[in-house]
Subunit: 364 residues, 4 copies
Amino acid sequence: MSESTRPALAGFQPERVEDPTLINLQDYEFLAAERLTPGALAYYTGGANDERTVADNRAAFGRRRIVPRVLRDVSHVDPSVEILGRRWPWPIWIAPTAFHKLAHPDGEVATARAAAARGITMVLSTSASTDLAEVAAVGGPRWFQVYLLADPGARLAHVERAVAAGYEALVLTVDLPRVGRRERDIRVGFTVPPEVSVPNIAAAAGLPLADGLNVAFADHMTWDDVTWLAGFGLPVIVKGILHPDDARLAIEHGASAVVVSNHGGRQLDAAIASLDALPAVVEAVDRRVAVLMDGGVRRGTDALIALALGATAVGIGRPVLWGLAVNGEAGVGHVLDLLTAELELAMALAGAPSLTDLGAEYVI
Amino acid sequence: MSESTRPALAGFQPERVEDPTLINLQDYEFLAAERLTPGALAYYTGGANDERTVADNRAAFGRRRIVPRVLRDVSHVDPSVEILGRRWPWPIWIAPTAFHKLAHPDGEVATARAAAARGITMVLSTSASTDLAEVAAVGGPRWFQVYLLADPGARLAHVERAVAAGYEALVLTVDLPRVGRRERDIRVGFTVPPEVSVPNIAAAAGLPLADGLNVAFADHMTWDDVTWLAGFGLPVIVKGILHPDDARLAIEHGASAVVVSNHGGRQLDAAIASLDALPAVVEAVDRRVAVLMDGGVRRGTDALIALALGATAVGIGRPVLWGLAVNGEAGVGHVLDLLTAELELAMALAGAPSLTDLGAEYVI
Amino acid sequence: MSESTRPALAGFQPERVEDPTLINLQDYEFLAAERLTPGALAYYTGGANDERTVADNRAAFGRRRIVPRVLRDVSHVDPSVEILGRRWPWPIWIAPTAFHKLAHPDGEVATARAAAARGITMVLSTSASTDLAEVAAVGGPRWFQVYLLADPGARLAHVERAVAAGYEALVLTVDLPRVGRRERDIRVGFTVPPEVSVPNIAAAAGLPLADGLNVAFADHMTWDDVTWLAGFGLPVIVKGILHPDDARLAIEHGASAVVVSNHGGRQLDAAIASLDALPAVVEAVDRRVAVLMDGGVRRGTDALIALALGATAVGIGRPVLWGLAVNGEAGVGHVLDLLTAELELAMALAGAPSLTDLGAEYVI
Amino acid sequence: MSESTRPALAGFQPERVEDPTLINLQDYEFLAAERLTPGALAYYTGGANDERTVADNRAAFGRRRIVPRVLRDVSHVDPSVEILGRRWPWPIWIAPTAFHKLAHPDGEVATARAAAARGITMVLSTSASTDLAEVAAVGGPRWFQVYLLADPGARLAHVERAVAAGYEALVLTVDLPRVGRRERDIRVGFTVPPEVSVPNIAAAAGLPLADGLNVAFADHMTWDDVTWLAGFGLPVIVKGILHPDDARLAIEHGASAVVVSNHGGRQLDAAIASLDALPAVVEAVDRRVAVLMDGGVRRGTDALIALALGATAVGIGRPVLWGLAVNGEAGVGHVLDLLTAELELAMALAGAPSLTDLGAEYVI
């Protein structure tokens, strides 16, 4: 049972919390920055070049304001949404990020457990530091993020392993034909430490675990690859769309959903903020498929703004890593709980008892 | 007799003041911050989450400029306005805020005395730390702010007590279906100190004084509640309107006035600034009822801008508390005198000898 | 002979200057701040309330950019302009400011000498600390700024003295029906020191010199006063216009020119920046009379922007006081030379050999 | 062979670099500031007056965002462009700047070698500190920047020397009818040190080497001079165009290309940023001639933005000097390699395998 049926308290005393220094996602970011190695911090925090897009992803939310409605019955708030035939309890998903073991020894398994306990879909990265089967064994809703490997055999094996492990959808990342230049990594001389590997890549390539990091990704990727991926029988979600025409093309090539994303500002610096790109994509998609987004969501009100502007659900990437770094599975769980509670409260205060009540007229 | 009939001095020597460090409302804010306990300061100052809306309430005034008129006869300035059948000497009212005894032992009585001495309407909060009858005994124009209590009997008793005590209007706050998350309170571990209570809630609920703080508010509130409240025979003012359609609905459900407000940024963070929301509400209301506003008014020129954009009167909340904290009744009085003198001067300098001279063409 | 006929140097070595710390008007401001008493500095620097308009007068220039033209023959630049039948060598005038003896013992005489030497029109303030006849004796083009004194006899005598002393035009300041609240003055407890007086006011009122500071100004001023002032046979310039309708009214009431001005931000805080108000006034005036402006001009490019937007000439107030404070007549002269040289260079670099070449298409 | 055919790596380890403190152009700026004399630093860094335009040249890029396309085949990126009949490997050129020997004893020869090794066109300045024949002897594509000397004979000789030395085009700078006032130079008392001269000017004027610095430039320059210059049989490029009408006039007078430029903010302060001026010039030119630009390009994404908005190629001025100051020819080469690599990556990540794929729809 969600908190939405709890009667409102008089509210004269503030909420009691375990730790008053960890009450929002930014707190987790600050604390994680102390806990992580300089290399891991640079890798997680950094974006491409001047990190204009990293900053703009956040700033884009600051440029919007919500016009709430009042005196609607919000004693019960329903933040659930149906996506690809499954009802999600929250319009929130965990965006794929690499190497969770850089943040915590429990790695992706900890993240998956926290997500599964809340019915939240985790998108496991090709660059995960945990075998996809091990993560699948946690249970819970899960999608698999696909980078196309350069070698055709490895490429095929990679996708087949994900399908075999029961991942429910394939998320094709299309904004990494090459790797962006993340200057923080260069400054600190970041290297993946020996205890962290990419077992899924290694397995697909038939190589020893330690060699996965050297496997090349395809530098040649076109819309035909979407069609090819759709041939595996799972829904294909195209992640990294910023132009409305690309959203149209994605649907034409069989995508079941798109993700408006600029890879957290890690690829093309000066790329448009995800939130700024969202409305045109929503209009182009015209409700034919789900439009997810990620980039800069740190508050329930951020989520509400994106949802009102037409996002079907919003993903969070880095905050999950901060939670993981601070406190493993419990940290991820707390990050998710903070964000979902904020969203639920924001819906109530905005006078929107369900997501279908939200619309672009809520945002200016 | 107001200062408006005083002939202008040559003005070569600045005004003589008692204390040159207390010459505007911001001065009171700075000094109050030193006088209050950390908990009271957090409670009064804080807003929801990142306090974007708190800041934007102020910034919205900074984004406007006044285009004054000249050579109009402003030797006599009349800042009075008629609201709900009573002529107010100033288009200024005291917005409801909780627990005045947190700021000063004299609490709401001190505030009421300062207001009454100037003919300014005070809106007493449901969460006042003084019994409503004791405040009423001060005399002076007074409205009562209503939170609906969860228990039907208590809810009825609460309103009946206010009616019986001679409050002239009921101000229904509609932006608190739940309490916003005020992170400052959580950070400092604010608790209402034992010497501060909410006697009106306790009395309505038939509980000992100390138990009032635990009485639940209704989490289910709709437009029917406006109709219900209007049944008590007093004018009902709906406070917390930001969307023009809600202003229309308020009038349809019997409201005698609306207050454009975001609860001082304490409820839905990222909500639109009150001033930014004002013009659309004014247009929707189309002079059928009075449109009050609060949020960010700290200067006479702020008041003038809001009035020119169609506000019938502007409320101040926190500045009253700063005055109270600094110097009790005299502090509140000085805060009011500073603001009214600034407004009167601003009207003269803008070439508007009366409020009806002001219009949207004064503001860009 | 102006510098405009000097062939351009190769420019590989920068200009040789006497003092490299005094090469623009801002340098003078910084140095003057060290030289003045705290009271005089507050009085000169300060604006009303939060000084939003003071800041915005400057910022308004920063919001514009010039689109220069090239390959026009600018070997000879003619910055002269005809105003009220006289050809000015520069489209620059000295705005009226009070008490030049606060800045330097030579007071307005020093200012007048520097202006006269350059053929620049000085507008002497009613609140000058020097007798208007003494200033007139310096020679040079001069206008007189008029505040209406409260006493009718003194009012008449005041204007008659100016007319008798050969001032060529009367500048009626209309934005001071009351004195703005300049908080800096109050903070520092500014008082006019005993050695500084307002001899013109005292003389008009028939009072001893020291009593001039206590003479009241009219608090009742209307368009009829413009008509009255025009009756003295001199051109009347209405100073303090920000609304285009007031510019139209000024012309209808006999004004020979208007000055777009907000009194340097000293009267109505939050008033529109002079530069922002300029275009609508220019449009309303439609070339019937000259449109002067003041407020925020500190650079030749500022002047060029205002001129391109339709100002006939731009006034400077505070910079003259900085020059006076730093170095008396020579300081004022240097300030004027710096500004005129900057303007002449800006015209050359913008491809506008004369002021008639400038137009709104130069500015975005 | 360019790097564009290198298969993308997995990218889990950041690029290995020789010096992690020199990985972008800003790093070179910071280090050069330590290496240069105060005078040289002031001369290179400074702009006119308040340096508004210097700052705005950069800020204009920050105001734009790129909307990238995805799933286009970018395995091979072709950044080449044809300009005046020659195919450039990159749409990048070296803008003319004076006195390279101020930065490094090897001066313009070092710059020319770095440029020639990469097939990048260097525009040698009239104010070069190296004889144009010595620079020509380096080989590589080269244009010559022309200031018109005041003396007609010297003017002719100057151009003839450049033609004779095999420069392929003449770049006429039209935004310097007079020298802008660069206040930094005045503050630090910059003088060209004795070991630095302007041999090309001296030779044209038939003067000893040391006297070149005193040769006057023409202060009278019109469109006829473009026609005159075109008579030498080389393509003439008009540099310093900001207004679209001037671009049209340039073409009418025989220009083979124009350069949108404000002289790096060193001439008319408050002039429009080059990038802001670009679109209107591109529209006016309507593909009749090439439209180059310079001003504020520091990143590959800056270049991409300008190219998408219609620039045929972008020039860099100061960054070349930073490279020269830090490490002579190798420093210039590294600066060029960093920028070209960034551009090539930006094209790949923007989904534009060739420059003809770029268009204004990429930029918002």
